[in-house]
Amino acid sequence: MSIRCIVVTPERTELESEADYVSLPMDDGEMGILKDRAPMIGRLGYGTLKLQTAAGLEKYYVDGGFAQVEKNEINILTGTLVPVDLIDAEEARAALEKAREMPASKPEEAQIKDKAVAQARGRLRASR
């Protein structure tokens, strides 16, 4: 066991476990973390957090937020953390449809729409 992974949401500490390898869903793609990585702070996107533990591969959906890596410890701050098995694909698809129909006539509105679409896509992808 080499990396300690702690996920904190505003409600509680959701996850605290040890892993050999952690894959973070960054804003611009996935990023793998191994032991002794240099300290970093990163912005997370909407995607799947993967942990390679002794018990096997664990997958969670992460709803944006931040990751902070320091001294073989990963602190993840996010709004919600859901194990991928619990995500309803139908619901995610409906959310994506709804996000696609949002108005985008102004740049501010377009930005909000993009965010909603990205969120729904991340959820849908995680559910598969």
Binding site: I41, G65, E108
Partner: protein, 299 residues
């Protein structure tokens, strides 16, 4: 002297009420403890968040964001009032409503368009009674507000602020200071002004213990992280407001019910005394009657 039976009936009903208030006190205590734990959990989150903000500042990033800057002209403002769904919690709702009314008056003088959103049945009814139109109502926040629900409201306000539908958001809630002190507070959450006074305070305290001990690499860039940190800290702040309101409600109910239980006890004592006296005088009266009857027969 009052009727002994009527007094006894009254004493019984007071005793029943005391049972209810005592139970309510116990329930409020249990809920208060749970709510406190949740408030502690959100502190862990804000601590880590402020750590990130501190690291960003240390790396020389200029902290600037549209959500942080006040608008030149405030045309439309929103007011969010956090009250409780249930009563029997002392002056909790009254103090929130009192500060709402006075704040609303000053706000209406400054800002042309003010809309009011209220969470909690008591607040909605109280404002309706005072002739204030409420726009959005939330009834689903009890003693454990869920972050997912609060986030929805937060995103809605963020959306409104970014698209320019509102220029300011004030929140009125009961701040929890200690078990014996909760104050109705008005806070301007949008624009954020700075990344928060309490966040800064926490940052300094957290800095002593953990401190940015390393030079961080920012991915994809410090600016991009900042862009995300600001809305997140707004959401965390709003969530903290909801949690504070929930904790304060339970404390207020606990104290109110404790007072009620105590005065019910006093009342029972008083009633028992009057009842015993009434019973005694009734017996004395009956004895006198019997003695009188016997003497009349003998005579």
């Amino acid at each position: 002297m009052a009727n002994a039976r009527a007094l006894d009936k009254r004493r019984k009903s007071v005793r029943n009420i005391r049972k209810i208030t005592r139970t309510m006190e116990l329930i409020a205590t249990a809920r208060y403890k749970k709510a406190m734990d949740r408030a502690a959990a959100v502190t862990a989150y804000t601590d880590k968040l402020s750590h990130i903000v501190k690291s960003l500042a240390a790396s020389g990033t200029e902290v600037q964001h549209p959500l942080l800057q006040p608008r030149e002209e405030t045309k439309n403002a929103s007011l969010l009032v956090l009250s409780s769904n249930r009563g029997l919690c002392g002056g909790y709702n009254a103090s929130v409503l009192r500060s709402t009314m006075s704040h609303l008056k000053t706000m209406r003088e400054e800002v042309p368009g003010v809309s009011i959103d209220v969470s909690g049945k008591r607040g909605i009814n109280g404002l309706k009674f005072r002739g204030v139109d409420v726009e959005d109502q939330y009834l689903h926040f009890e003693d454990q507000p869920a972050y997912a629900e609060v986030e929805k409201i937060a995103s809605m306000y963020l959306e409104k602020f970014i698209t320019g539908k509102i220029d300011r958001l004030d929140v009125i809630y009961t701040k929890f200071i200690s078990t014996s002190k909760q104050v109705a507070t008005i806070e301007t959450l949008l624009p954020l002004g700075s990344l928060g006074d309490d966040l800064d305070d926490e940052a300094t305290t957290a800095g002593v213990s953990t401190g940015p001990s390393a030079e961080y690499e920012f991915l994809p860039s410090a600016e991009s992280i900042l862009e995300e940190v600001v809305p997140t800290s707004f959401k965390a702040k709003l969530f903290k407001c909801f949690l504070d309101a929930a904790v304060s409600e339970q404390v207020a109910r606990m104290i109110a019910m404790k007072g009620a239980t105590e005065s019910a006890g006093d009342m029972i004592k008083q009633l028992s005394m009057t009842y015993n006296r009434a019973r005694q005088s009734q017996i004395t009266g009956e004895i006198m009657e019997i003695i009188g009857g016997v003497e009349a027969l003998e005579g």
